[in-house]
């Protein structure tokens, strides 16, 4: 190649690299909190956000720090933001939620959003990312926001779990004093660090199962039945092939006196050694579910879940189901009690609630006195 040709090629490569790096992030993120929002945006920073090219794709690393202020008159207990990139993955969306808040009127709080987008290099105009306020939960469990992701239900369930777990630790403090609380915290932290986690990949479209997964069989669910649960799971199965499980479906009976509009089950799996893992939550697929008292319904999903641990496939040999969340037609929610979780050693397999995770972190970083003071606030 001649010198001129080499120079032209280098110039072309340089220009390509420069174009790939030159994606202005200003104005490419749209924040929409909605009219009459109970929170206001008082600050926003895009920090060290940057873009880089990877082959024919453009990778955008967005690091945003938002500062929101409670402009309402009630204390805020949780916030959920819906994050959508319309140009990437048809139907793909995300959310960033902050549960276990306790923000008074006029107080501000930070929300961080760290995102990575991968998209073709052809850059179109308009925002790359839309951030919308999906839900704000108040102290009295009332909720505001677009609620397109059912954030109000999720935030309410988290708040009920937070109340339950704070009560649990306050009871220990009252009965066994600070040393008893310290012991309970250490046990909780130990449980979480010992809890086995699986890596799970969920595929929405029908996957092509290869012979590597082995023969498919229908694994019947066993059930943990909580006496105070409004629902009773009766029978169900999932298609299992090696480390892949698909099409779980479970029949449930509404044994309460109230109609139910949302059901979510927990799904545990076992490996060949008998070790149990939390596999997934199994929400009802019908968004218009209405289950009158005394009637049954099927909870099912048509996805495929593939389980690995430390990069190795984990073959599935057992399935256990339990009721983890119920919403009645009047909007009230039911979550398992602490006694339910401790029955059947579920507490060893399930992740701690967001509030227990927060209290653990508080104890580790600020000590027992700070934890005791925190519990006394409620």
């Amino acid at each position: 190649m001649s010198n001129k040709g080499q120079i032209a090629l280098l110039a072309l490569l340089g220009a390509g690299a420069a174009l790939a790096q030159d994606v202005p992030l200003e104005g490419r993120v749209s924040i929409n909190l909605g009219k009459d929002s109970p929170v206001a945006l008082v600050g926003m920073s895009t920090g060290d956000s940057h873009s880089s090219s990877r082959g024919a794709a453009l990778v955008l690393d967005l690091h945003m720090a938002l500062t929101l202020r409670n402009t309402g008159s009630s204390r805020i207990h949780g916030v959920a933001l819906r994050v959508v990139s319309q140009e990437v993955t048809v139907g793909g969306k995300g959310s960033v939620s902050i549960p276990s808040l306790n923000i008074g009127p006029g107080e501000s709080f930070p929300v961080r959003i760290d995102m990575q987008l991968m998209r073709p290099t052809q850059v179109a105009g308009g925002p790359l990312v839309d951030v919308n306020l999906d839900g704000v939960l108040f102290e009295d469990l009332s909720c505001a926001g677009q609620d397109r992701l059912n954030s109000c239900r999720t935030l309410t369930a988290w708040d009920l779990e937070a109340q339950r777990d704070r009560e649990h630790f306050k009871r220990i403090l009252a009965q066994a004093g600070p040393n008893g609380l310290r012991q309970a915290m250490l046990e909780s932290i130990g449980r979480q660090s010992a809890r086995p986690q699986l890596d799970v990949r969920v595929t929405r479209a029908p996957a092509v199962t290869s012979a590597a997964f082995g023969p498919v069989h229908a694994e019947q669910f066993a059930f943990l039945d909580f006496p105070d649960s409004p629902l009773q799971p009766s029978k169900g199965s999932a298609q299992i092939a090696g480390n892949e499980a698909r099409e779980p479906h479970i029949e449930v009976l509404n044994r309460s006196a109230r109609a139910i509009k949302y059901v979510e089950l927990g799904w545990l799996v076992s490996d060949p050694s008998g070790q149990q893992y939390m596999a997934a939550s199994l929400p009802a697929s019908d968004p218009a579910l209405y289950l009158p008292a005394g009637k049954t319904a099927i909870v099912e999903q048509d996805t495929a879940l593939r389980f690995t641990r430390r990069g190795q496939p984990v073959n599935i040999q057992g399935a256990v189901g339990f009721v983890s969340r119920v919403q009645f037609a009047d909007g009230k929610l039911w979550v398992p009690s602490r006694a339910d979780l401790e029955r059947g050693s579920l507490v060893k397999v399930l992740p701690a609630s967001a509030e227990e995770q927060r209290l653990n972190d508080l104890y580790l970083k600020r000590g027992l006195d700070a934890l005791v003071q925190e519990l006394k606030k409620y």
């Binding site: 024919a56 794709a57 690091h63 990139s85 140009e87 990437v88 993955t89 048809v90 139907g91 793909g92 969306k93 995300g94 959310s95 960033v96 939620s97 902050i98 549960p99 276990s100 808040l101 709080f109 930070p110 929300v111 961080r112 760290d114 990575q116 987008l117 991968m118 998209r119 073709p120 979480q192 660090s193 986690q197 890596d199 799970v200 990949r201 969920v202 595929t203 929405r204 479209a205 029908p206 996957a207 092509v208 012979a211 590597a212 997964f213 779980p248 799904w267 939390m278 997934a280 939550s281 199994l282 929400p283 999903q301 992740p351 701690a352 967001a354 509030e355 995770q357 927060r358 972190d361």
Partner: protein, 188 residues
């Protein structure tokens, strides 16, 4: 890693590769997500094409008959011009012939051994995939993806929860804000 060219991947997607090339391609695909996605795209594209098979412009029956006639004609012409076989005059088991025969048998055996080994099977995925990544949760489809990251937090400090409807959430205590933060990605 050297990738098969697009033509090879397209032939593989259609099941049109020969045994050896097919085996080599399957071995590569077992290790290469990028090429698996390429094959998946070819397969999706093929699903759009069946209507072309019904093209009324090509008369396959007539074409086949013409090809058969041409082959017969060629064979007949070959018979007319074939000289007497000179090989019949020489020794049947010359060293060269024995060597070639043994080498062929050895090659055949080696090929049999290679082909008899269990070839890595390829699990192909199409559609939207939701999963946890090294430092976040991600939804992706084809070559595009969107992920919410938990930068600055070690993976061990993150609690992952999966929704069978197609969602993954990562819950952690943000080291900067001190708040429990839940990042979740899912499909519509």
């Amino acid at each position: 890693m050297k990738h098969p060219n697009p033509e090879t991947l397209a032939l593989h997607a259609g099941g049109d590769l020969g045994a050896m090339a097919g085996w080599r391609t399957r071995r590569h695909l077992a290790r290469c997500a990028e090429c698996r996605e390429e094959v998946a795209r070819f397969e999706q594209f093929r699903q759009l094409l069946p209507s072309l098979d019904d093209s009324q412009d090509v008369h396959w029956g007539r074409l086949a008959a013409e090809m058969k006639a041409n082959i017969r004609l060629g064979l007949a012409a070959g018979e007319c011009v074939r000289a007497e076989d000179p090989a019949g005059a020489g020794p049947i088991w010359s060293f060269a012939r024995v060597g070639v025969a043994l080498a062929s048998v050895a090659a055949l055996l080696a090929m049999g051994v290679v082909l008899d080994r269990p070839a890595p099977t390829v699990a192909r995925e199409t559609g939207v995939v939701v999963q946890a990544t090294a430092d976040g949760v991600q939804v992706r489809e084809g070559g595009q993806s969107m992920g919410l990251m938990h930068s600055g937090t070690s993976r061990d400090a993150v609690t992952y929860q999966v929704g069978a409807q197609g969602s993954v959430e990562a819950r952690y205590v943000d080291s900067e804000t001190g708040y429990v933060t839940v990042n979740k990605v899912d499909v519509e």
